[in-house]
């Protein structure tokens, strides 16, 4: 038992602080310093606050991708879930007339309708989880389907139109400050801290990492894999719903088509933040830092008058450079990163590496990781 505990502890430590996080903080500081000195008005209070407003929604969505990646899955439906949840809330606002009600009722209705939005996210997440665990469809395919389904339902429901008419109590979420910090950023921070606590010190978080490391081993260790997966996707759905509410509060409307480009950006941020797409490791802190870093780059480009498409180029270059350097330096465990997806028993992987080194043509570099 002791040896198990030791390995568990080691695994936990590794899961909490992968080697990349320090480098990531360094990168963020470097970007911040570079922008402060080269970009006029970058470090002004107004710009910092505007960045904090903008980073919240994409930061929340990146957390969703990261958490789903910890289980070696992925949740492609997150933007659809966010929009559908926001639409449920917005439609309920319209139906209940929350915007025109007296202040007391308005606040109560705001809380109730936002709660309904969160519940929608949880239900969508549960649908994802059930398709993955009961029908045994792989996560990427299941959520590819539900992404289209949820988005399709939202489009069909509103005929593709946006929904307006939100009460002031709700719009405060997208416009007000708490001690000078924009509320959306406070929401991101609270959700990130709660999720980090869940991942770091609750049994569910530990089981998620174990399941993502090796689902077979976790099953033999008595982890209820199906329930853990279901809980993970419900959690993902709920965080997506929070992102949807933040988006709705910031744009004062809910639309079925908002933020389609966020999906790929969220994957970029999650991976930049050190999340292993093959599961089992990564930190939420790294993801938040990566989101802030990219937001700083984006904001710096904006202030310099460069287009968002130049930013896209840089974003792609950063992704490939960070991944390329990371893989070349093997800062990640090569057995995981370069793992072919097949059921090769673990001890054999080591011996394979030895035989590979003996092959004269050096073909061993040619194997690639699969996502």
């Amino acid at each position: 038992m002791t040896s198990t505990h030791e390995s568990v502890d080691r695994d936990r430590r590794r899961a909490r602080a992968p080697r990349g996080t320090i480098g990531l903080i360094g990168l963020a500081m470097a970007v911040a310093l570079l922008c402060t000195f080269t970009v006029p008005r970058f470090a002004s209070v107004v710009n910092v606050q505007s960045m904090a407003f903008q980073v919240a929604e994409i930061g929340l969505l990146s957390l969703v991708i990261a958490i789903s990646m910890y289980t070696a899955g992925i949740d492609l439906s997150l933007v659809s879930v966010a929009n559908l949840s926001a639409l449920v809330t917005a439609q309920l606002f319209v139906v209940t007339g929350a915007a025109t009600a007296d202040p007391g009722t308005s606040v109560l209705l705001t809380v109730l309708c936002a709660g309904a939005g969160m519940a929608t996210g949880a239900v969508c997440g549960a649908i994802n989880g059930l398709i993955i665990t009961k029908l045994r469809v792989s996560p990427i395919l299941a959520t590819l389907g539900t992404m289209q389904l949820f988005n399709g339902l939202a489009i069909a429901w509103t005929s593709g139109e946006s929904v307006y008419g939100m009460p002031d109590a709700f719009l405060m979420l997208g416009t007000q400050y708490l001690l000078g910090v924009p509320l959306p950023f406070v929401v991101l921070a609270v959700v990130a801290v709660l999720a980090a606590v869940l991942m770091g010190s609750r049994p569910l978080g530990f089981r998620i990492y174990v399941l993502g490391s090796n689902s077979e081993a976790s099953r033999f260790a008595g982890v209820p894999n199906a329930r853990v997966l279901l809980a993970t996707y419900v959690l993902c759905g709920m965080i997506s719903a929070v992102a949807g509410l933040v988006i709705a509060a910031r744009s004062a409307s809910a639309s079925p088509d908002y933020g389609a480009s966020y999906l790929l950006l969220a994957i970029v941020i999650a991976v930049l933040g050190g999340t292993n797409p093959n599961g089992g490791s990564g930190t939420l802190l790294g993801v938040v830092i990566a989101a802030i870093t990219l937001q700083m780059v984006s904001s710096g480009f904006n202030l310099l008058g460069l287009s968002q498409f130049t930013y896209q180029v840089v974003q792609g270059l950063i992704l490939i450079a960070v991944m390329g350097i990371g893989l070349l330096m093997k800062s990640w465990d090569p057995n995981k990163v370069f793992s072919p997806k097949q059921k090769r028993p673990a001890p054999e992987a080591g011996s394979d590496d030895k035989t590979e080194q003996q092959t004269p043509n050096g073909d061993n570099k040619k194997e690639k990781a699969h996502v």
Partner: protein, 373 residues
């Protein structure tokens, strides 16, 4: 025509036995459920046709064929990458880049405006170059394919709009605009429905890709690499050369697809296309290709593209508002992948078939994890 994958039973050989084997249910079903997909398409057509007889007008079928040819080219590229065990999300960026850059080159410097062939050659060449960038990231730097192509997608699209041009070119050069209005045939009915002349080369390319996957060493190598890269290497396949070839070919097909798209919509718009990647991937997956590699066929891909385009076209005929299209496609995709998962579970994957669809844990369970215990 059914393209067998290497995971198919060894009895599926060419020769006289095939004639009898065709009648077996398993043959009719196809290696990747092509038969079931064809049945679904026929059923859907019969249902729609019964409710709305106007469906049977020649125009409907011609419209179906005409509107999906550029999607089909993209889908074929996606199929190659999926079969090889990767995922490509950069193909629409490549298509938009190749097509817009080609049109811009013709308009501004008159490059290759003498013949209708040249624009396609330029676009295909640009596609190959951009595909090789993908190959460099995937094979050279060994970055996971989804992440590598996410990166190149951003780079390619950004470079296109920042440095090549951001203005929509709506008056195409004469050779291309002439091609836009060249029709193979025109179905007369309540509305005139023309079939673009480009249908012929696209059909020919489809057959060539089928032939490539089915009967060349390179094509079989793609299945082998996608099935298990390590085993393929030990069996003597040049794994990285095959992967480079796959990404170059996918780039070529994407370049051509972009060019066909430009000709069909009669304008070159640098902002178009990108964003619909997952829809094309969905069509290919619906066509039976495994997202984990080693499985998939050209026939299935064609059927997948046809089915999605049929759903989109027929809902309107059925009186369902167009807003339901996306939900219907999503539901169809979920049913499709669930059926594959169910079938994969009933027939447990054998050792040489580690990536059967529906071994649902392909993404979760079967990673070798050397450092857990």
């Amino acid at each position: 025509m059914s393209i067998t994958s290497p995971t198919d039973s060894p009895t599926a050989v060419r020769g006289e036995a095939v004639h009898l084997a065709w009648l077996r249910p398993s043959r009719l079903r196809g290696a990747n459920n092509e038969g079931i997909l064809a049945l679904v398409i026929i059923l859907l057509a019969v249902i729609v046709g019964t409710i709305s007889p106007s469906f049977w007008a020649a125009g409907t079928i011609i419209n179906l064929a005409g509107t999906s040819i550029s999607t089909l080219l993209f889908a074929l590229g996606v199929l190659l990458v999926l079969v090889s065990g990767g995922i490509d999300v950069s193909f629409l960026a490549i298509g938009a880049f190749a097509a817009y850059a080609t049109v811009k080159a013709i308009v501004t410097v008159g490059l290759g405006s003498s013949s209708v062939i040249f624009p396609f050659l330029i676009a295909a060449g640009l596609g190959v170059v951009l595909g090789l960038i993908n190959a460099a990231a995937v094979v050279g730097l060994r970055i996971p394919t989804l992440i590598a192509t996410l990166g190149t997608q951003g780079i390619i699209r950004g470079v296109l709009i920042t440095y090549i041009g951001s203005r929509v070119i709506s008056d195409l050069p004469p050779t291309l605009s002439g091609l836009s209005t060249s029709y193979l045939l025109v179905a007369e009915g309540t509305t005139r429905t023309p079939l673009s002349v480009l249908f012929v080369p696209v059909a020919a390319i489809t057959l060539l890709v089928a032939l490539l996957l089915r009967s060349t060493v390179f094509g079989r190598g793609i299945y082998a690499v996608g099935g298990h890269a390590e085993f393929a290497r030990r069996a003597g396949f040049p794994v990285s050369r095959i992967q480079v070839g796959v990404y170059a070919l996918a780039g070529l097909l994407a370049g051509l697809g972009g060019m066909v798209h430009v000709i069909l919509v009669r304008e070159a718009d640098p902002f178009t296309l990108v964003g619909g990647e997952l829809d094309v991937i969905a069509a290919v997956v619906l066509g039976g290709a495994s997202i984990f590699g080693g499985r998939g066929s050209v026939l299935g891909t064609v059927l997948g593209v046809v089915l999605i385009s049929l759903i989109n076209n027929s809902l309107l005929l059925l009186g369902v508002p167009g807003f339901w299209q996306r939900a219907a496609v999503g539901l169809m995709l979920l049913i499709g992948v669930s059926a594959q998962a169910w079938r994969g579970r009933r027939r447990p994957p054998t050792t040489d078939d580690p990536t059967a669809p529906g071994s649902s844990d392909s993404l979760t369970a079967s990673q070798p994890k050397g450092d857990v215990a």
